[in-house]
Symmetry: D2
Subunit: 360 residues, 4 copies
């Protein structure tokens, strides 16, 4: 079947990833390569010797730039998004604390239990209509505080944007942050697609970060080769980070090559331009199919993803030529995702194919 990968070394992927067809993939923003400016920056950083483990000029510069952009106390590079989440929340937890998150969150669903394994803390999932937590939802899990028999709620984990492509508004964030402060909770923000949120809201990174204690800033899904950053907003959390990052197997020895990727993304706000483009391609796609018979958009399109339901037979027909994931087999929901390098023509062809798939 064309939805299944073929000929891959069994050892690498257990779960069939979609085969990339000749057409632009709408499978994920990580199907895309890296932005050419990022690759050039990596090559340019290959200039003789440099201090290891971040003791180099590229790291100093990118760190300073990130701290400035976020109004942050510190910024630390790690290799992937799961690691960013684990390191980030590890700064906030005692052994007997729990993390409250959306049931659909990446942390809960897509990290193979990394939080529980690496930190030993309990994850408390909450069902949500749109991937977004609210004070009311969180409050329902705040019983048993002070009771030694209960894991103690401590960190509220939200993703901006969420797994279903929705964004917290600045007002949503303000209310959540106020609630957390009032309740003695910490707020961690999974920002694997934070750029897409900032592009959607038309705000600065610092406007988003101001509400969090710690957050991540994703590079990989927005044009980097492989680079994520943990952004620490409070001075009092900085001292342990280097040790925790090393122990969590995230300290890069030739760190300049990670830092250079971020400097490229920050140069003339490439991160924003890339995210704005990806978002606008998703909007174009949504606009193109919203009145298509038999296609129903499932969530507000507030980033670079369109979730839609259509019939299983149309999904199967479309997947013969186009790459994308079935998000919920039972509900027949698919995810179509755009990237920094998705073109208007890619979208328009895909829209045509989707609409055509309706014909008898």
């Amino acid at each position: 079947m064309p939805t299944r990968s073929q000929g891959l070394a069994a050892a690498h992927t257990r779960y069939p990833e979609p085969v990339i067809t000749g057409r632009k993939s709408f499978g994920s923003d990580n199907h895309a390569g890296a932005h050419p400016e990022v690759v050039e920056a990596v090559a340019a950083a290959n200039a003789g010797d440099a201090g290891p483990y971040g003791a180099d000029d590229w790291t100093s510069r990118a760190t300073s730039e990130l701290c400035a952009a976020f109004g942050a106390a510190g910024a630390f590079f790690v290799f992937n998004g799961t690691a960013a989440n684990v390191l980030g929340i590890s700064l906030l937890l005692r052994p007997f604390d729990s993390v409250i998150c959306a049931e659909s969150s990446h942390l809960n669903v897509d990290e193979c239990g990394a939080t529980e394994r690496n930190l030993g803390n309990k994850v408390v999932p909450l069902a949500t209509p749109d991937g977004k937590l609210t004070p009311e939802l969180i409050r329902s899990r705040l019983t048993g505080r002070g009771d030694e028999h209960r894991s103690q709620p401590r960190v509220v984990e939200i993703a901006q944007v969420t797994e279903v492509g929705t964004c917290y508004s600045l007002s949503d964030l303000r209310l959540l942050a106020q609630f957390c402060r009032a309740e003695g909770l910490y707020l961690y923000m999974d920002g694997a697609r934070l750029a897409n949120a900032a592009a959607n809201l038309g705000c600065e990174l610092a406007d988003l970060a101001a509400h969090a204690d710690v957050l991540s800033f994703g590079g990989t899904k927005n044009g980097a080769v492989a680079a994520e950053a943990v952004i620490v907003m409070r001075d009092d959390l900085l001292a342990d980070v280097p040790f925790l990052r090393k122990q969590q197997m995230q300290l890069g020895s030739k760190m300049r090559f990670m830092a250079a990727q971020f400097s490229a993304l920050l140069e003339d706000k490439l991160w924003l331009r890339a995210a704005q483009h990806a978002n606008s391609m998703a909007s174009r796609l949504a606009a193109g199919v919203q009145d298509a018979p038999g296609v129903a958009i499932r969530y507000p399109v507030q980033s670079n993803a369109v979730f839609a339901s259509l019939s299983p037979s149309r999904i199967a027909a479309l997947q013969r030529d186009w790459t994308f994931y079935v998000w919920d087999e039972k509900e027949s929901v698919v995810r179509w995702m755009t990237a920094f390098d998705t073109t208007e023509d890619d979208v328009d062809q895909f829209v045509m194919a989707i609409r055509a798939s309706a014909s008898p």
Copy 2:
């Protein structure tokens, strides 16, 4: 003092790394950049969409190449050497097992307790004269087997080459492997500098790997940007690796960029040429100073490192112009390390400086 880094963002490195002077660093092979062919391969892999998490052609190819070179059952990319060690030994341990290793090993000393933290297993360090374990040394820690009060010895961890630059001979490895098999122990080989060992011994990678259950193969210290591989020699150990790698935060989404680095290193045995060169530069350095008054070579030079003792005042004088680490302050031992890009001229100038430092 010139041996201390200055002006670095405090958040990045807690421990002062040496400042890189204008001259070629003899501090570490990770002070070097990446080999140009590796950087070109990364750029070349930036060619449109690809399946994520290893479901791409670059990963398939590099995996096959590695399996062929090692005679291995599987090969899995991870981000750094600490992660390779943790993932590798995690395949071999029950919760109550311990890892026997040299007291001076990277696993014991330089990984911030990553084995204990991430796996929860006990590490049992053994003092060695030259960084190398022997059956006799290991046997001294095999008491209490079957006793529920005792952590059970299960994995013998050796590094090839060791932290002090020495190599196990093929005969050493054969004896160790026989001993482990006879004693129901598994052998894990930290191959962060395995290329240097193969270059020194004039053997194939498969000759080294044949004695291990699992090993790592380091790319980063030998010219990669950031790429290590866990090499699994036994089919029965493969099934869990993808899950463990993901959970251990080592699954790269755009894995083609990791794979491409290894394919570049394997192309015409670049890995061997790079290691041979680095080794020969260390030999040239050792030859140049071995009869220098007041300089004593401390360990056999069997890779790309020279350990030598000389007076503290000469060390201080040399460090004003040259970058290298004091290995053992009490014993006044330094480590001089060469890389794939160290030139004969670099070595000759350094040798002159070392010899000159003796003058009153």
Copy 3:
């Protein structure tokens, strides 16, 4: 307020436990002391020297008796119910596996995250109407099997009886066990109150155990001083238990005193007589209040607990003289629990008080 404990050393209990009033407590079966026959058995075991850590005759005898009663491969004593659950499921999990359980389960709610902390495995809670899992509920969480991004469902954890006092019927258990086998899942049964379930169902312990891979058998809530047993039904799971128990801090040095408690409970089926009595006291209580105006029984009374809703003001009034817990403050639900030493007179007085509390 009389519902709050007063004057306790702050260090001991963070959460106020109810003050025991002069009247028999309906708070919990662990408010009761130990059965006199158990205390006598402890005293009788104090007879000179004995081998430590279970190498004694009391342990041999009680172990054999438990294995016979359960048709088990092995039986292992631990100190409390949380430990029994952790040790029991630890026999069944790989690092990347998850435990499916009822959201209301003791394991999920009342063990301060011990599973996540001590084992590092993910706990997947499922909302249930009555504390009982069904194949349909479990099936809803079996997506993503084989996908390295997902924690892999492996153990189904049920409690017999559940936290809300309900029992799985033998047919329920048979269906669950069949489902688990068909789906490659293991079944673990938290038997902190297994005696009450056997008493309710009128079956043998072996009839319950036959459906599980591993289970626990609680002594403490049924008249022991402090003794729980992990019952292992499969030979292939036995070898690691002694090491895991020791490592999990559950190996008693003077184990005869734990074993003697179980032998006392097994003598003439004291465990059954005690549980039958407690159950019948709960039934008497339920019968006494079921037609009381303003009192609604919330769950089928199938063990030694009665859950009922009544108005907050009546709860407050009752708690001035009687000890019991508010189970759900929002829903105004209380738990009334009986023990081996609750008398008919205790129940009748309490029933009268409950009915009287309705008067204006």
Copy 4:
């Protein structure tokens, strides 16, 4: 062979424990039963209902008594010595910290890696001549502080008395405590046999505790059924203990039965009388054999253990009638241990047997 246990259920003890012969065991103080006064106290605590999890009068009283005896901020009961050590040091460690201890310590050797498994921290063992750490020994492991690559030394763990029966003098403790304070280290004292140390030194428990941040106080080896206490000397460490104890599976529900044991031990200083007696029996034994040909006492006899070397054939001959452990097979060293219930006659008969074993 008579040194091996026979006929025990395989599941219980993996390692053969010595068979208890008809004669008084010199194998371990945990071969003894419980002191009659302790058993009586347990029976006396079986008086109707009581608050669970420590919310009872017995716990309040015993906690107050312990705090008074130690000058402590808090006292917390746990089930065994391994648990006391794990809970105690868990109050003092960040994730990347290490515990420095004697290589021969119970924590390092006899707890099946419980520290690494349950806390994830590195254990750094130091070879010692007599089981005792010194500032000089500890100082040798204080390199790499502040270096993110290194596990950070944080807790110094000592046992009072040590595994080889030796005691730190009050002056030893003062120097160690001063050293730790000056170096930013915490001092944890494993007091499984603290009573024997106090008896040997003729000092108060508070005199020993004053030098530690946290310590344990063992009841089990000194006449309890099963009861150990974690003694916390600093107010700032108290808040997390209840949660950590619960999570570490050490919260007893009918805690009164643990507390009553300690109150019995504290009544008229039974703990001291029992320890003084055991110590004096060891001294009598040592005095009886010290001039015996072929018997060499190995360590100063400062508690209730005598370590001696004698020929393997004499050991074998003695073990036909007497129960004791071979401590070091290679060096032919045995451990003879006395208990609260060892009599002068037991010792005298054993001395005669030892001396007689020399005869041809």
